[in-house]
Symmetry: C2
Amino acid sequence: MTFGARLQRAMVEHGPLCVGVDPHPALLKEWGLEDSAAGLSRFSDAVIEAATGRCAAVKPNAAFYERHGSAGIAVLERLLADCRDRGLLTILDAKRGDIGSTMRAYAEAFLVPGAPLEADSLTVSPYLGFGSLAPALDLAAEHGKGLFVLALTSNPEGAAVQHAIGTDGVPVARAIAAAAAAINAGQTPMGSVGLVVGATVGDAVSRLGIDLSAVNGPLLAPGVGAQGATPADVATVFGDARPTVLVNQSRGVLNAGPYAESLNSAILKAADAARADVGGPR
Amino acid sequence: MTFGARLQRAMVEHGPLCVGVDPHPALLKEWGLEDSAAGLSRFSDAVIEAATGRCAAVKPNAAFYERHGSAGIAVLERLLADCRDRGLLTILDAKRGDIGSTMRAYAEAFLVPGAPLEADSLTVSPYLGFGSLAPALDLAAEHGKGLFVLALTSNPEGAAVQHAIGTDGVPVARAIAAAAAAINAGQTPMGSVGLVVGATVGDAVSRLGIDLSAVNGPLLAPGVGAQGATPADVATVFGDARPTVLVNQSRGVLNAGPYAESLNSAILKAADAARADVGGPR
C-alpha cells in the first residue's frame, strides 16, 4: 500500500490532523520536564500515546532531537519504532536536501525499511532544484514511503526564493507543485509526493498561478487555527484542493499537556476543527 | 577569535583545502570496512588523522552518519570532539534550514559550545529565504562560529531555483550573496558567513551579476580538480575572490585510502593543487 493510500485512509478515519511533536525547551519546562534526552523521551511518549487513534499522523521535528546529539536521536528512533508498532503514520520533519549520493544517503537514513530512523515520510527542501530530489523520490516509491517537498511556506522571508520567476517564466513554487503533480498523476486515492504549503500565504497560490488541486498528493499545512489562518483563509489558499489538506498543529495542541486527559481532548478537538476547516478526504 | 579569522589562519598555514569526510557505503567497502557504525568510526579516525596538519578544514557529511541512526551520530560526535582536540576546523555539511524556533534549535544543536554535535561551522539551505536563517546567524556570531549558505551549487538542477529572478529583479543566488556580504562587511581578515559556490557553474556568477569578491567570507567550492573544474574554470567562476576560496575534495582524496601513507600524500598533493588553483589568502 502506498504512503498516499495509507495517509488518505488515516485522514478519513481520524480527521485531517497531523500533530507536530516539537519538544521545544520552553515546552518541556511547561510540562515539568528536563531539557535532556530523558525529558524528550517522556514528552515523546506522552504525545504519541495521546495521538494514537485520535489523528491521522504525527510530525516529529528532528531539530529538537538533534539538540541532544546521539542520545536525542536514540529517543527519535524509539519514537519512530513506537509509531510503527501502533500503526500511527509519521512525517519526519527534517527538511533534508542535497544532491546525488548524499541525497540518496538521506533517503536511506529515513525511508528504507529497517533503517534505525525509518519513518513513513520525510520533509525535503528543494533549494538544489526539484530534480535533485530524484534519489529520494525513487527510494520512496520503491518502499511505499512519502515525501513532503517545501513549496510555499508561511514565513514572510520565504517569498524571496519561492515567488522568484525561473528562466522559463514559471515561479519557483509553481514549478515545484507542477513537478509533484506530474509524479502523482493517475495515482488513486492520491499520490505519495506531498507539498508543504502554509495556510497563511494569502493570495500567493492564485497570484503565482499554482494549481494545488492538480497536485493529487497531500498538502501539509502549518498555520491553521491557533496559528492564524481562519476557515476563510484556508478556502482562499487551498480552494478545491481542501480534501487533500493535512492540517498541522503543534503548540496549539501541545500546550494542553502534560496530562493525558487534556492532551487527548485537545487533539480530538483539533481533529474536529481540521475536518470543519478543510473537509477532509471524500 | 571569529570563525572567519580561524579559517583564514588555517588556510594560510595549510593551503585552502577542505577534505570532505564522506563515508559512502561503496567507499567503506573499498577500504575493507563494514557499512556499520564501527566501519564509520574506523573510516572517520583514519581521515581525521591524515587531515590533521595537512589541510585547512574537514567537512563531515551528516547524511552518511544519519544512515546509521543514533550509533552513527555517536560516531559523528566523537569525530567532532576529536577535531576540536586537534585544532582541526570542522564544517558540518548538513544543509539545515527552517524557521523561527526550529532554525534556532538546529543552531543550538551544531553551533553552541558544549552541544554534543558542536562543530566550528554548518552548511545551511535558504529555500525558506535568507532571512529565515537569522536565528542561526545570531547564534553563530555570538559563539564565534561560521555558516556556509548554499548559493550557487554545481548540479544542473539547481539553476531552476538559484537563477530565478526575485520580485525585486534580483536573481536568488545574487540576493543571497549580497545578504552574506552585508553581514561580513568590514570584518577582518574576513567574515564568518560563507557561501557554497560550485566551481563548475561556468559563467553563471557573472551572468547573474554576482559580486563574489564583495562577499568577504569563505567560498566553499566543490568540484575543483578531480571533479571537473580546471584552473581556468576556477578563474572564470571566482575571479578576484579566489583568495577566499576553500576548495573541497572528497572522493579525489579519499580514494587514496585506507593506508595512512597514501592518504597523507594525497591530501598534501591536493592542498598544493588547491593553492595553485586559487592562490589562497594573502
